[in-house]
């Protein structure tokens, strides 16, 4: 049963990884990704970042992405934790953990979840810079990363 959480509090990646595979001797691989707030973006220094979401839809969109990953790859369980509210450089933003029998499927599912999260889950970042506050623009490279997974693409896993 996947775990999806949107929260202001920080998370403990190690504890989440341990919890995901606890008591399951069929798990042979745990792949994880942690996204972290950087101190620079698009040439500006970032003092703080505020993350906004759409309560209800965000959780639903994440659950749908995770369901899709679990249907596509042989993985046993997934945890996604995404923070909202005010964050500063070095703070953790997002965690994806995938437990499966083998690493290939776990890595692929983890990367797919992140690529889809970046383009489909309703979160928005606003950065405070010395030049003032600015909303972060969506990146084309994120759309390209997500489109690699489209069915029929030669390089899709």
């Amino acid at each position: 049963m996947p775990t999806i959480r949107v929260q202001t509090e920080d998370f403990d990646a190690g504890a989440e990884m341990a919890k995901l595979r606890a008591g399951n001797p069929a798990v042979g691989a745990v792949a994880s990704f942690v996204g972290v707030c950087r101190d620079r973006n698009d040439g500006e220094s970032v003092a703080t970042m505020t993350l906004e979401h759409y309560p209800g839809m965000t959780e639903k969109a994440l659950a749908k992405i995770v369901d899709e990953a679990m249907a596509r790859w042989q993985v046993m369980d997934v945890t996604v934790v995404h923070r909202v509210g005010e964050l500063k450089p070095t703070d953790q933003i997002v965690l994806v953990v995938v437990a499966g029998a083998h690493r290939g499927e776990a890595f692929a599912a983890c990367e797919f979840i992140m690529d889809y999260l970046k383009t489909r889950a309703p979160f928005w970042k606003k950065e405070q810079t010395p030049e003032g506050a600015r909303w972060v623009d969506a990146r084309e490279t994120d759309d390209e990363a997500a489109s690699r997974w489209a069915p029929g693409r030669k390089d899709a896993a």
Partner: protein, 84 residues
């Protein structure tokens, strides 16, 4: 009546996060609703103008211009997402 929600840059530019709207006669799709809001003029016209990159969700599912809208729906307008 439908519930309208605005997020992120749209919420700030429009100066509102939510409103209840009696579905105007003849508005049956996302595209129709967008045109109706643009017809308010001023900031509405500039923020929601055709060509502006924005996303729409109906009842918390991503929608496109042809998605149907009926009374009781929750419709959200927001910029392309930037999480992760």
């Amino acid at each position: 009546m439908i519930k309208l929600l605005y997020f992120a840059r749209l919420r700030e530019d429009l100066g509102t996060s939510a409103e209840d709207l009696t579905l105007p006669a003849g508005v049956t799709t996302v595209a129709g609703l967008r045109s109706h809001l643009i017809a308010r003029g001023g900031t509405w016209a500039s923020v929601l103008a055709d060509g502006k990159a924005l996303r729409v969700a109906v009842n918390q599912d991503m929608a496109d211009p042809t998605t149907a809208i009926k009374s009781g729906d929750e419709v959200a307008f927001f910029p392309p997402v930037t999480g992760g």
